[in-house]
């Protein structure tokens, strides 16, 4: 924390606030039928996204999960372009083709969210293999949830990354529930870092509610990857405040458990405390920051609502390379 400067601190705080406000706003719009296909709310998991994305370079690759709004916003995409994608509008990050679950911009290293449990690590491992083959000075991050920790493909990918020393970070965005299943009930051995270390790579269990801790571990892992020393496994313990999907009734955990995480482990509250105690901002300035975020999200909703639907005539764009002559 000693090398944390004011502008970085305020940027980290603001990004987490943007994600929280975005998600809570989008959740309400989804219940009103404005978001085709539903969405997965990442409120509570802001520090994992912001800590990770703030520690990697703009052209590093990420591949994520079904819950990817926070990763996408933290990668630097505007609330406008992400909200417009949720509304499947032409101005969205995926040009209205993807919606909430398929936010992607492959030309800029965002290899997308997807609907397959544990797929993010495999996709990122492939990207890391390509990076190594070409000899680029960049890395790939594969996000995976705790549910994806019990899929074969995830561990096949980790094994290959280990033996080939690929520039990969496996980042477990561990919100503790695979839909309705508590991670503690389904983790043989009980310790994910210990399981990963059996594949011969450095593996850590860290506090995913502490943005600086996430940032520190990812910074070190990236340096290792760039130095040719191979992949790192980081299991960031976090918590989601809402259901697996919007509108879920959520009878598999208690309201008391949710309240406990919200009141004692909230990543934004915790980091606000750091910002104020370090003298980077007063409470009044933090409140102003929150108000500016509120305005930004309101503008994002207005932008999404007023944006055009994709043109029917453009429906074949992105289906192929453009060289096959696919026509309606």
């Amino acid at each position: 924390m000693s090398n944390l400067d004011k502008s970085t601190a305020l940027s980290l705080l603001r990004q987490m606030m943007v994600i929280r406000d975005f998600e809570e706003t989008a959740d309400k719009l989804c219940l009103r039928g404005k978001v085709p296909g539903g969405m997965h709310n990442s409120s509570g998991q802001e520090a994992v996204a912001v800590g990770t994305l703030s520690a990697i370079a703009k052209d590093d690759v990420i591949a994520t999960t079904h819950r990817s709004h926070h990763h996408t916003l933290a990668k630097g995409y505007s609330a406008k372009s992400v909200m417009a994608e949720l509304f499947t509008k032409a101005t969205g990050i995926s040009h209205g083709r993807g919606g909430s679950m398929h936010l992607a911009e492959v030309t800029e290293g965002h290899f997308g969210g997807n609907g397959i449990v544990g797929a993010g690590v495999g996709i990122a491992m492939g990207a890391a293999l390509g990076i190594q083959h070409i000899g680029d000075k960049k890395i790939a991050v594969g996000f995976v949830g705790d549910g994806g920790m019990n899929t074969g493909r995830t561990w096949e990918s980790i094994n290959m990354a280990s033996i080939w020393k690929l520039p990969l970070i496996i980042l477990v965005d561990n919100n503790q529930y695979a839909v309705e299943t508590f991670v503690g009930r389904v983790t043989g051995g009980g310790d994910l870092a210990k399981r990963a270390s059996g594949f011969g790579l450095p593996a850590y269990n860290i506090d995913g509610q502490d943005v600086l801790e996430v940032r520190k571990y990812v910074t070190e892992a990236r340096e290792r990857a760039l130095a040719g020393e191979g992949p790192t496994f980081i299991n960031a313990l976090t918590y989601r405040y809402y259901g697996h999907n919007v509108g879920e009734k959520g009878q598999y955990r208690t309201q008391e458990e949710i309240a406990q995480w919200r009141t004692t482990q909230d990543p934004i509250d915790k980091f606000t405390g750091v910002v104020i105690s370090s003298g980077f901002a007063t409470q009044a300035e933090v409140d102003e920051l929150r108000a500016s975020v509120r305005k930004e999200i309101d503008e994002a909703v207005a932008y999404a609502e007023s944006s055009p639907e994709p043109e029917i005539a453009s429906i074949t764009q992105g289906v192929d390379s453009g060289k096959l002559g696919v026509q309606l």
Binding site: L31, G33, G247
Partner: protein
């Protein structure tokens, strides 16, 4: 003023049937009280109030179809009018 509305659930939910009103206009409601019961193509669902106050008008009748996302009633805080 809290709007009680039919939530859009699932991939392609268009309408719900308003099965029953459990609170009448002018009734006092407490946060958590079920105000109405609806039926979607998959399930029946209780719609609770999240705040306490007085229930406003019924905007739909029992056994009427309600488009997903539409408000069926509001809960008025002291001093508020519909």
């Amino acid at each position: 003023m809290e709007e009680i509305f039919v939530p859009a659930l699932g991939m392609a939910m268009d309408n719900a049937m308003l099965l029953e009103w459990l609170k009448q206009p002018g009734d006092t409601v407490n946060a958590g009280d079920v105000v109405a019961v609806i039926e979607t193509d998959k399930t029946t669902l209780d719609l609770p109030a999240e705040t306490s106050g007085v229930l406003g008008k019924h905007r739909y009748a029992a056994n009427e179809e309600v488009p997903a996302g539409n408000t069926i009633a509001v809960v008025l805080a002291p001093g508020e009018v519909e």
